[in-house]
């Protein structure tokens, strides 16, 4: 974007440009990305990203596996925030099949997704500062991310490959005591974030390396399809959770942090603020979680079951009495007319009728579901022809579009700025290559 930051290159000396292959294996390409970079000294003259080293044909896999079989594969599309991929996929199928999702499911999905956003941003924070050269924040961020991953392991059985959401509900209810664990973690996190900010926020080196570097504006974002924190750092309060509320995001109160600078530092600040907002959402969702602790629900269910059994037995006794042509007891008759109490349908973790995973066939139709993943718009375009396998599954990863802006941001900047700029975009390569 900017021309060479006040540095003018004089071509007095006979010199030639140097082509450097940054990647596919390089410490700060966050995976296998190759950037064919032409350098004039330390100034980037030209850059061409080469992607595809991590292409695992996830879209083709979706076409020859049933919907349930394909589900574990989704985790591997974008493994730092796999709950979002699952959500987007399940939502697409649920809307196609017209399923109602109980409130409890929606809230648990919301809690896990927001925690996942924090864990993803934490990893970004650590690696971003590692790219800048600071080592300690990386370990601090990973230490705290591990606490969140432990919560995910408790709920889904795996740290990163969750496979937890199901079409129409969840794999299992939250475990007992999980809510307390989450509260413990999210009450501790703000203190940790304050520590990060003390190390990083106003550090003169960080400021000098980040402020005014890699500036983009809204037009650039639209030109390259950039979404997410990078777009919000340009001053556009575009957040699908706010603008097109899905799940139960319309029931919680949160802000969309924005910045107007559009530089690396603005993106850093937006992400840090987003983590605080996510904590707010998790707090509210935990307070309003329909049904509360699973143990309470089980207790209530047992009580209701007891009443239902009583009614059933009263009914039986009345029928026996009628068969024997004797007078049934009035208490029994009264009991028989009672409606057996039912658990609030919002408290379920599956829809009213459990979807048979093995033989699930959505009706003919298509659907593009979009969510606001930690990196921007995450979409799943799903076309069903009524068979148990999809006709076409297309993943719209935010990183794919966000990466395409990198060359235009870098040309004219210094080579070390590449690490700051690339880190601030928070690109994750498995999502680019799928």
């Amino acid at each position: 974007m900017s021309d060479i930051q006040g540095i003018t290159i004089e071509r007095d000396i006979q010199s030639e440009d140097m082509v450097v292959n940054i990647g596919p294996q390089h410490p700060s390409t966050h995976g296998v990305l190759r950037l064919v970079t032409t350098l004039n000294g330390e100034v980037v003259k030209n850059m061409e990203p080469v992607v595809g080293y991590l292409h695992r044909s996830k879209e083709k896999m979706g076409e020859n596996r049933t919907f349930f079989q394909y589900q574990p594969m989704i985790d591997r599309v974008e493994y730092l925030s796999a709950f979002y991929d699952h959500y987007v996929y399940c939502t697409a199928l649920e809307t196609l099949a017209g399923l109602d999702i109980p409130k409890r499911v929606q809230y648990i999905r919301m809690i896990t997704m927001e925690l996942n956003r924090i864990s993803s941003h934490l990893l970004w924070f650590g690696t971003f500062l590692l790219d800048l050269g600071a080592t300690s924040p990386f370990f601090y961020a990973f230490r705290d991310r591990e606490k969140i991953l432990k919560l995910f392991e408790d709920i889904s059985g795996a740290r990163m490959m969750y496979n937890y959401y199901r079409i129409g509900g969840l794999n299992a209810d939250i475990p007992d005591g999980w809510i307390e664990d989450v509260r413990r973690v999210i009450n501790e996190l703000p203190k940790r974030f304050a520590e990060y900010e003390a190390i990083v926020n106003k550090n003169p080196i960080v400021m000098d390396r980040c402020i005014g570097i890699g500036i983009i504006n809204t037009e650039d974002c639209l030109k390259y399809g950039v979404t997410g924190p990078a777009l919000r750092a340009c001053g556009v309060a575009q957040d699908l959770r706010k603008t097109n509320p899905y799940c139960s995001y319309d029931e919680v109160d949160f802000d969309v942090p924005t910045s107007t600078d559009g530089d690396v530092y603005a993106r850093y600040q937006v992400r840090i603020q987003e983590m605080y907002e996510s904590l707010r959402i998790v707090h509210q969702a935990l307070d309003n979680l329909p049904g509360g602790e699973p143990a309470d629900i089980r207790k209530l269910q047992a009580e209701y079951d007891a009443v239902a059994t009583e009614i059933k037995e009263a009914k039986k006794r009345v029928i026996v009495a009628q068969k024997q042509e004797t007078e049934p007891e009035p208490a029994d008759v009264k009991k028989m007319e009672e409606e057996p109490p039912e658990l609030d349908k919002d408290w379920r973790i599956q829809g009213k009728k459990k979807v048979n995973m093995v033989s699930f066939k959505p009706p003919v139709g298509e659907c593009m579901s979009l969510v606001e993943s930690p990196r921007g718009f995450l979409g799943c375009y799903l076309i069903s022809d009524g068979s148990p396998k999809a006709l076409r599954i297309k993943w719209r990863g935010a990183s794919y579009s966000n990466l395409s802006i990198l060359p235009s941001m870098m040309i004219g900047n210094l080579y070390p700025d590449l690490m700051a700029v690339f880190g601030s975009l928070d690109v994750i390569l498995p999502e680019v290559d799928r």
Binding site: R65, T66, F68, Q69, Y70, Q71, P72, M73, D75, S136, Y140, R143, E146, K150, E153, D154, I155, S156, G157, A158, M161, N163, N171, A172, P175, E195, A198, I199, V200, K202, N203, P204, M207, I211, S259, T260, D261, Y265, Q269, M357, V358
Partner: protein, 163 residues
């Protein structure tokens, strides 16, 4: 919103570097979070997706009915292979049940569809072996003895004891 304020950058720079140093140093005495794995086993949750196993009845006889539901929902090709026949009482007899644990992605799909709650996951994650052949677990490796199966069921809230 612009982070470029009007403070003296030399002084504030020094102060902020000092603040960063102090924050880093405040971690000096804290308890390390490292777990030294072979000595300290990680605290795994009960739902952990570890090695697959086959629960048995309380008398250690097969619980599996050979319906092949697990093989059908498995995302990997031919990972679970089952051969069965029915004896004279029309009871299912499992001749062969193998899982190639080396290709397993531990997604847990199979555990979810099992109609008799037979194929389940343990929290055992130490699965390395010297050859690929050794990673193909057969029925003998997979079957949990009756007592262990009952214990598993108690731990995971599946209280009914299968006779």
């Amino acid at each position: 919103m612009s982070p470029v304020g009007n403070e003296n950058r030399v002084l504030s720079g020094l102060v902020e570097i000092g603040r960063g140093l102090a924050t880093v140093m405040s971690h000096f005495g804290r308890e390390p979070v490292t777990l030294e794995y072979p000595e300290v086993m990680p605290d795994l949750s009960t739902r952990f997706h570890g090695r697959l196993c086959l629960l048995t009845k309380s008398d250690s006889t097969d619980l599996c009915i050979g319906c092949k539901a697990c093989a059908r929902v498995c995302p990997c090709d031919d990972l679970i292979q089952i051969e069965m026949h029915r004896d004279e009482n029309k009871k299912p007899v499992i001749d062969r049940f193998t899982i190639d644990i080396g290709r397993c992605i531990f997604c847990g799909n199979c555990t979810e569809v099992c109609p008799v709650d037979c194929i389940k996951m343990l929290s055992d994650f130490e699965l390395a072996d010297y050859s690929r052949e050794a990673l193909v677990l057969d029925k003998f490796d997979l079957n949990l003895p009756g007592e262990a199966s009952d214990q598993w069921r108690v731990e995971h809230g599946l209280e009914k004891t299968v006779k």
